[in-house]
């Protein structure tokens, strides 16, 4: 087996930045002029590394075992990912729920001196002997990288010893300040270790690249829409079989439920197998779903059908959307999420009728360039503040104090902090809820209305608990530490 080089990090591939702040108009203008440069923070809070997201991308692949080549802590979130894994099986109607399987090579102090090859070999052999999986997924770490374990070479040698397909993701945390690189590392692994040959094209098959945070209810909504265009969705990589991953080479087109997630895989399927792909961020909100569907339909020669479907869907949801819009009118919303979701949710300000107070976007690059420009042109987003930050809730706490939004829409990395600040919250990804497509917008709008209807938990929590920041901090420029 040839030795595979690591994937290019997003900073150099896409010029991704993680530190910036200002008004929506100003940030959009700077972005337009190409002036958003790599800035750093002289104060920072904990974030996520690419190893975490690489593992999160592949852990639910069917009949696989993961090996994290690292000290024991770098595999500890396996239990967190297993929550999604189990929930996904419940929603898919599995009668026997199964844990994900992950090993740690448990690198210790002496391994940092002598190298970890023997342990990696032992883990691969144990995984094969215990479970006879179809694939063994191997993830590297800061420590394996710093001590210089030649993991790609080791894996290449080990593949001669074992029958199971070895799949290596080279995802040392310190190599990239953009955790999205972890997605690319995983897809790079699928492309180089799993998909081995082109296939004859199935004109009705489309790849839908979809992260674990997009749940089964979202898939059902997208299947409903695609079925009306006579398209079959091949959802990858979560819960996919190796055959499902290989079958991506037979698709007529590729799309993603989150372009940020699927960008590298979709581009590479185009480059390697001439399979075209869509560039809309997410089918989240009416306009985005329209664009997502139309792009996919055009690529597969179904443009006319799609326009009819879109028209019918608009008519179907119009009455309920109007009701929601009336209830959300004038409410000020703050959004915090990864780039695709943050922009997509912010962009439906005009659709749901709320006013955008501000958005934390975990990272900015060309993938969301067009979407940011669209946002800057929206009536409901004109007063918004944009914070590009790999979470950094201290900046956000300062902003929330100034902006005083009525509602906070984000993931669980920060919802609890907003609640402590007295702001009711809506969660944005899969804990058994629908977000995507036309039905997803209605469901999301309903959750927003419900959260506003009874904010008692957050309101009263904030009277008794406080955020861990000094009062002086709230008086200062929220972007003071970006330099």
């Amino acid at each position: 087996m040839p030795i595979v080089k690591p994937v290019e990090i997003r900073e150099s591939r896409l010029g991704t930045v993680i530190a910036c702040g200002g008004s929506c108009q100003d940030v959009a203008k700077e972005a337009r002029q190409g002036c958003l440069k790599r800035a750093e923070r002289s104060f920072s809070q904990a974030t996520v590394c690419q190893e975490w997201y690489s593992m999160f991308t592949l852990l639910t692949v069917q009949n696989s075992v993961a090996i994290v080549h690292a000290p024991v802590g770098c595999a500890s979130s396996g239990s967190t990912m297993n929550i999604f894994n189990r929930m996904g099986q419940v929603v898919r109607g599995e009668s026997r729920i199964r844990n994900a399987r992950w090993f740690s090579t448990n690198l210790t102090e002496s391994d940092t001196i002598h190298g970890g090859e023997e342990k990696l070999r032992a883990a691969v052999l144990a995984a094969q002997e215990r479970y006879h999986p179809e694939a063994i997924l191997i993830f590297t770490s800061c420590v394996s990288g710093i001590i210089g374990d030649p993991v790609a070479e080791i894996v290449s040698r080990l593949q001669d010893e074992v029958k199971t397909r070895l799949v290596l993701s080279q995802c040392e945390g310190f190599r990239s300040s953009v955790w999205l690189t972890g997605f690319d590392a995983s897809f790079h692994a699928i492309l180089n270790y799993v998909i081995d040959a082109p296939r004859e094209t199935d004109p009705n098959l489309v790849n839908v690249v979809s992260p674990l945070t997009v749940g089964r209810l979202d898939e059902i909504e997208l299947e409903r829409l695609l079925k009306q265009l006579n398209l079959e969705a091949n959802f990858v990589p979560c819960y996919a079989s190796l055959e499902g991953l290989r079958r991506t080479a037979a698709a007529a087109a590729t799309t993603a439920t989150c372009l940020t997630y699927g960008d590298y895989f979709a581009r590479e399927l185009t480059r390697r197998y001439q399979i075209p792909h869509t560039r809309e961020l997410m089918p989240l909100g009416v306009e985005s779903t329209d664009r997502w569907l139309l792009q996919l339909a055009e690529l597969t020669g179904r443009g006319g059908q799609a326009r009819k479907l879109i028209e019918a869907e608009h008519a179907r949801i119009a009455p309920r959307l109007a009701e929601l819009k009336a209830q959300l009118k004038g409410k000020r919303v703050f959004v915090s999420a990864g780039q695709a979701r943050a922009l997509s949710i912010s962009n439906f300000a005009d659709e749901l009728g709320f006013e955008l107070a501000g958005t934390t976007i975990y990272q900015y690059d060309e993938v969301i360039a067009e979407s940011l420009q669209r946002l800057a042109g929206r009536r409901g987003a004109q007063a918004a503040t944009i914070n590009v930050a790999n979470v950094q809730p201290f900046e956000q706490a300062n902003l929330l104090r100034r902006l005083k939004p009525d509602l906070y829409v984000a993931d669980e990395m920060t919802t609890g902090f907003a609640a402590r600040a007295g702001i009711p919250t809506v969660m944005i990804y899969d804990y058994g809820m629908n977000y995507l497509g036309y039905n997803g917008l209605i469901a999301t709008g309903e959750r927003m209305v419900n959260a506003l209807k009874n904010p008692s938990f957050a309101v009263k929590l904030s009277r008794h608990r406080r955020l861990p920041y000094r009062e002086e901090w709230y008086q200062q420029d929220p972007f003071k530490y970006i330099e």
């Binding site: 904990a46 729920i97 199964r98 809730p393």
Partner: protein
């Protein structure tokens, strides 16, 4: 620490243990000098999966962290630590800041002590304090990280203070790794309070830095683990003359709790009459509820040959209660926290010197495969373990309850299994496993 590979490990690393150990102290703020992902990896892998314990005051994505990248790996991380720690003191509202290190800074060899020392005078003048603990993940597991934090506090923060003859410090309970740490510490403190003993748990209540500083004024440290807090106990003894009394676990149920209260009373010279009164009243409370449980316990004939899987302290505490007070039969006890060799004899002795029944088979195995192989062989009728053992329970078609780390199938807030009241709660949880389908 075990140096072999591990499937579905049931602990994280030294840094993973250090973060919640600092964060649980009132207004204490861990400052991570580590790679970019350690903070969230370990928040998810430690707090989140311990019955969904929250962020804490300054945990999760709010943890200050240097997030060291390639530049620091190549040129060293001292400049970055100085920058982030300095800013953390301006932004984060705390009394005690503890720098905890990850693998990267340990490997590149940053001089953490020197940098922390630069900030000490300024902080002391403000009534705040700073310390550091060396907790590189490759050096040990969650338990090791707890030990390094309490060793660091004993060395760097605790100062001599006047002895209080009826005061104790509680040690050896690792926040989040022990799912019921908070409720258990509260129940133990409540019981000791009834004997007129003042209690510093370090990790609950609102006394924080001040209490840590003056913890040298205790008459006794009580340690609830077969092996943890050894290093901290040594410092308390050598520097401050505070002895320690070690229990293998928090006491659970009337028998163990009475014995615990008796031993502490002896050490602190609590009057026999008061001790008898407290034990009698507390036992009466518990037994009123045990009697109430009897309808279903005797009526459904609830007697299990149980397998228990978890850290040594949890396994010992629950096994003793179920066997000595509740007529259950121990089939196997699997210890998953990889305790040091020298503590294993004590653990086996604790688990095999029970008042009733045949002693369980005792197995030490941190690896899921070996754990499950051992349990399958004894065909238990109940599995008390972590949520990772649900698959096995389903395979063997027996009930299961999560009592050890990780637990992703329950929310744990102030739930306690310790003491008298805790054992009543535990009986509810135990019996519920069989009633859920009804």
């Amino acid at each position: 620490m075990s140096c072999t590979i591990s499937e579905n490990p049931r602990y994280s690393c030294a840094l993973g243990g250090a973060i919640p150990s600092v964060a649980a102290i009132h207004r204490a703020i861990p400052v991570l000098h580590s790679g970019p992902g350690c903070g969230m990896q370990l928040f998810n892998g430690q707090n989140y999966v311990a019955g969904y314990q929250g962020y804490g005051y300054a945990g999760g994505s709010a943890l200050p962290s240097t997030n060291t990248y390639e530049k620091e790996v190549v040129f060293g991380g001292e400049k970055r630590l100085r920058q982030v720690l300095g800013a953390a003191l301006d932004v984060m509202d705390g009394d005690l800041y503890v720098v905890v290190t990850g693998c990267t800074s340990e490997i590149i060899g940053d001089d953490i002590g020197a940098i922390v020392g630069e900030f000490r005078p300024q902080l002391e003048a403000q009534g705040r304090a700073v310390a550091f603990a060396s907790t590189g993940g490759f050096k040990g597991n969650t338990y090791y990280g707890y030990d390094r934090v309490f060793e660091a506090l004993a060395k760097q923060i605790v100062v001599p203070a006047r002895r209080r003859s009826r005061k104790v410090n509680l040690l050896g309970v690792v926040p989040s790794q022990d799912l019921f740490w908070q409720g258990n510490l509260e129940e133990v403190a409540r019981l000791l309070g009834r004997l007129g003993i003042e209690v510093n748990t370090f990790l609950t209540g609102d006394r924080g830095l001040d209490e840590v500083r003056k913890s040298s004024n205790a008459a006794l440290n009580l340690i609830f683990s077969p092996y943890l807090a050894d290093s901290a106990a040594g410092i308390y003894s050598d520097r401050f003359g505070v002895p320690s009394l070690r229990f293998s676990s928090v006491p659970i149920g009337p028998t163990a709790t009475a014995e615990f209260l008796r031993q502490v009373s002896e050490q602190l010279k609590i009057g026999e009459a008061l001790l008898q009164k407290v034990i009698a009243e507390e036992a009466a409370y518990a037994y009123e509820y045990f009697d109430k449980s009897s309808l279903v316990v005797t009526g459904f004939s609830i007697q299990h040959r149980f397998a228990i899987i978890g850290d040594a302290a949890t396994v010992i505490g629950i096994t003793k209660f179920l066997v000595n007070d509740f007529s259950q039969l121990p089939a196997i006890a699997v210890i998953t926290d990889d305790p040091p060799e020298e503590s294993r004899e004590r653990i086996v002795r604790d688990l095999t010197t029970l008042e009733y029944a045949d002693p369980p088979e005792v197995v030490f195995a941190p690896d899921l495969w070996s754990v499950h192989e051992a349990v399958r062989k004894v065909s238990p009728t109940l599995i008390l373990g972590s949520s990772l053992d649900k698959d096995l329970a389903q395979e063997l078609n027996v009930p299961h309850k999560s009592v050890s780390f990780p637990a992703t199938d329950r929310l744990i807030l102030n739930r306690a299994y310790a003491g008298y009241r805790g054992s009543v709660t535990f009986v509810e949880d135990l019996v519920e496993t069989g009633l859920t389908p009804l």
